[in-house]
């Protein structure tokens, strides 16, 4: 049953303008499989995964790059997901130089793109950040792959000072999505609806406040999976719709809807 529901979702014809209820998974290169590549930094790599809310974490676990949200999305959807996260990477320096080779050499149909938190550490301007993201969009489009932009979760606690910059980057990401007619997966919004306290968010390793914990990566993966399937996770009943599509036990999806 799960296979049938996913198959139907994948068959939706994606086109130039993306409504929130359009599925984003399509076998664009015609190789008979839908593959997704996740490009990013330590948050894509999965640093911090394996800890639970309420723990005091001196230093988030580095992990082996096999977990995080990519592995969860892969399991939810039953498709191959390539984790191309590099801890500590800046988008405007290393990331955008690494990106062309990674994407050119990949057979993925869809590219999930989330990087920028380390740029915030060095106060990279929103304008410079935007140029780098636009380059990523152009390269992916020229290779006939579908790029999906992710907004950045707002850091808190020990890293709260970064949120001014990540918030600015997120506004640039949303603007580029409009200009380029691209879909956005709104991780920032998931944090806003689901954190117990946005200023001391229980989805992060605390007191660091930068790398998600197990619950945080669950939230990311559920938000991403829902959007890839064309399910509005922030609508009333969105969590139940995702559970139904994936045949999950009721209560498994923990992303909360928008406040009414």
């Amino acid at each position: 049953m799960k296979t049938i529901k996913l198959f139907v979702a994948i068959l939706v014809c994606t086109n130039f303008a993306f409504a929130d209820d359009e599925a984003l998974l399509s076998d664009l290169n015609g190789d008979g499989e839908v593959r997704i590549l996740f490009f990013g930094d330590s948050i894509t790599y999965g640093v911090g995964d394996g800890t639970v809310p309420g723990q005091f974490i001196e230093e988030p676990p580095k992990t082996n790059g096999g977990d995080g949200y990519p592995r969860r999305v892969e399991e939810y959807l039953g498709i191959f997901a390539d984790n191309e996260g590099v801890p500590g990477e800046f988008l405007t320096e290393g990331g955008i130089n690494r990106f062309p080779e990674v994407v050119t050499n990949s057979i993925a149909d869809v590219v999930g793109f989330m990087e920028g938190t380390n740029d915030a550490v060095h106060r990279v301007s929103g304008g410079s950040f935007e140029l780098a993201v636009q380059r990523g969009i152009n390269i992916t489009g020229a290779l006939s792959k579908q790029i999906v932009l992710f907004t950045l979760p707002p850091p808190c606690c020990d890293k709260a000072d970064l949120s001014l910059f990540t918030g600015d980057y997120t506004s640039h990401i949303k603007e580029l999505a409009v200009v380029n007619e691209l879909p956005v997966i709104d991780i920032e919004r998931a944090w806003e609806t689901t954190c117990n306290d946005i200023h001391a968010c229980n989805l992060y390793n605390l007191p660091e406040g930068l790398h998600p914990n197990t619950k945080g990566y669950d939230v990311m993966a559920q938000t991403i999976t829902a959007r890839l399937l064309g399910i509005d996770i922030f609508a009333d009943g969105g969590a139940e719709d995702l559970e139904g599509a994936l045949d999950l036990e009721p209560g498994t999806v923990i992303v909360k809807p928008d406040l009414q």
Partner: protein, 226 residues
């Protein structure tokens, strides 16, 4: 019915063949403008790797789709006369460039937009006046928007085209119809910048548009003038 066809074709990965779009991809596909033969036409090749899709700012001018890096582009309908073409970021009113252009009856012109980013853009206007070609051959022109490569050469269908300076275009050349491989190279060192292949139909006019940045990413779409 069309949606059902699109759904099935999408599942088979054939979106570009069917004009279904296929999201950001599509390669040689797309739904280009098909303006009348006697209607003046203007197109924009957006060759800047850090620049967003562009569209006309002028209310009386029309591009059927924004001009996107790395994608085929088509002539849009314009009025005759001298005017300033405003180019703005797609889906916004944010103007990034103004280009003076004079268009006369039946003219076809290309604006090549090049440079690294919107803060550093240049534009050149070219008259597209191809030679008459019969059914056994096609005409082709190359527009060079590759940052950091200087002049480029293109070998295609047994012809060597160039050297073509940065921001410049070649003369039209004729090539035989049929499948062709093409190679874009640095005119100085002969280093390969891009390789591709295409199917050339006799009697048609084509564009090769190398673009991007040397040592980062270069693409070179090959498409019919429409």
């Amino acid at each position: 019915m069309k949606k059902i066809v699109c759904i099935l074709i999408s599942a088979l990965g054939l979106t570009s063949l069917a004009g279904c779009g296929g999201g950001g991809g599509g390669g040689g596909g797309g739904s280009g403008s098909r303006i009348g033969k006697n209607t003046p036409g203007l197109r924009v090749i957006q060759a800047s790797i850090d620049t967003a899709p562009l569209q006309f700012a002028n209310a009386d001018m029309e591009l059927s789709t924004p001009s996107v890096f790395g994608k085929p582009v088509y002539y849009g309908r314009v009025t005759e006369g001298p005017f300033n073409v405003g180019l703005q970021r797609a889906n916004t009113a944010e103007r990034v460039l103004t280009v003076p252009v004079t268009v006369e009856e039946k003219d076809r012109k290309t604006i090549l937009v090049y440079g690294l980013s919107e803060n550093d853009l240049f534009a050149q206007v070219f008259d597209d006046d191809p030679p008459e070609v019969d059914g056994s051959e096609a005409a082709l022109r190359v527009y060079n928007g590759v940052v950091g490569a200087g002049a480029v050469m293109v070998s295609v269908g047994g012809q060597f085209v160039g050297p073509i300076g940065y921001g410049d275009a070649s003369e039209f050349v004729t090539i035989p119809s049929g499948p062709v491989d093409y190679r874009v190279s640095d005119a100085g060192s002969d280093a390969t910048l891009f390789r591709g292949s295409a199917e050339v139909v006799g009697g048609k006019i084509y564009t090769i548009a190398p673009q991007g940045e040397r040592f980062s990413f270069i693409t070179s779409p090959f498409f019919e003038n429409q």
